[in-house]
Symmetry: C3
Subunit: 100 residues, 3 copies
């Protein structure tokens, strides 16, 4: 059985931008994604710069490499400065590439 | 300190097949796994083909590469067509390989 | 757009050691982390050795490789034998390395 390379895109964001990120994923061709309710701890994007603890979501999507690249671009342009979201990508392998 | 290669197997499925997947993991030699309650968004396996949103689980297991291969085979045979589950594997590294 | 290598450190532990692990992450230079409430299934660290099911946390932190190495060392020294925690690292890529 052969496996095929894909990218797992992981986005950690405040709940308030969740819907916009989901819309972006769909626009760029992600066929599915998973949402986790998490506690995010970090420097956040808060004005005061204090370490914050607040309700976040982690959104994960397995996508084709070119979709991951477009999403990274658009997330960087639109959300990084304003909302302090965290994004990273991971190499993963799947069995049925046409599903992604 | 040296680390050792393992596979992280990630399975996203509807809650109704959760127990069967957990049984499969144990049968094939996974020594442990973690279950997350998540929202899955995607094409699903629904008759109508509409984009669905429903309670899913994400199950993660760190296993030896040969265990991952057997699990991918069996999940493909038994669950992919019927239940539209998503499975992918990721290379990870651990400290204590005998634990996996 | 270029991406930069980081390590994702994943720690699965019983809730009772959560605060100590969070403190360790901060001490060694992790700038943020995410906490998931999960069900952990496995051999656990219980006296009786039975397969256990109990409330666990999964803690994830994206950190510089040298921070990951220090954290693995310290987690191994202090927690592995006593608490049966699971730790693994994954190669990931980020856009803004100064954030990690």
């Amino acid at each position: 059985m052969s496996t095929h390379p894909m990218k797992l895109l992981t986005i950690i964001a405040e709940a308030l931008v969740r819907e916009r990120i989901e819309k972006l994923l769909a626009e760029e061709g992600a066929k599915g994604f998973t949402v986790f309710n998490v506690e995010g701890h970090g420097e956040g994007g808060r004005r005061t710069g204090e370490i914050g603890e607040y309700a976040n979501v982690q959104i994960e999507a397995v996508v084709k490499p070119e979709v991951a690249a477009r999403l990274l671009d658009r997330l960087q342009e639109s959300y990084f400065d304003k909302y302090g979201i965290i994004v990273y990508e991971t190499d993963v392998r799947v069995l049925r590439p046409h599903k992604f």
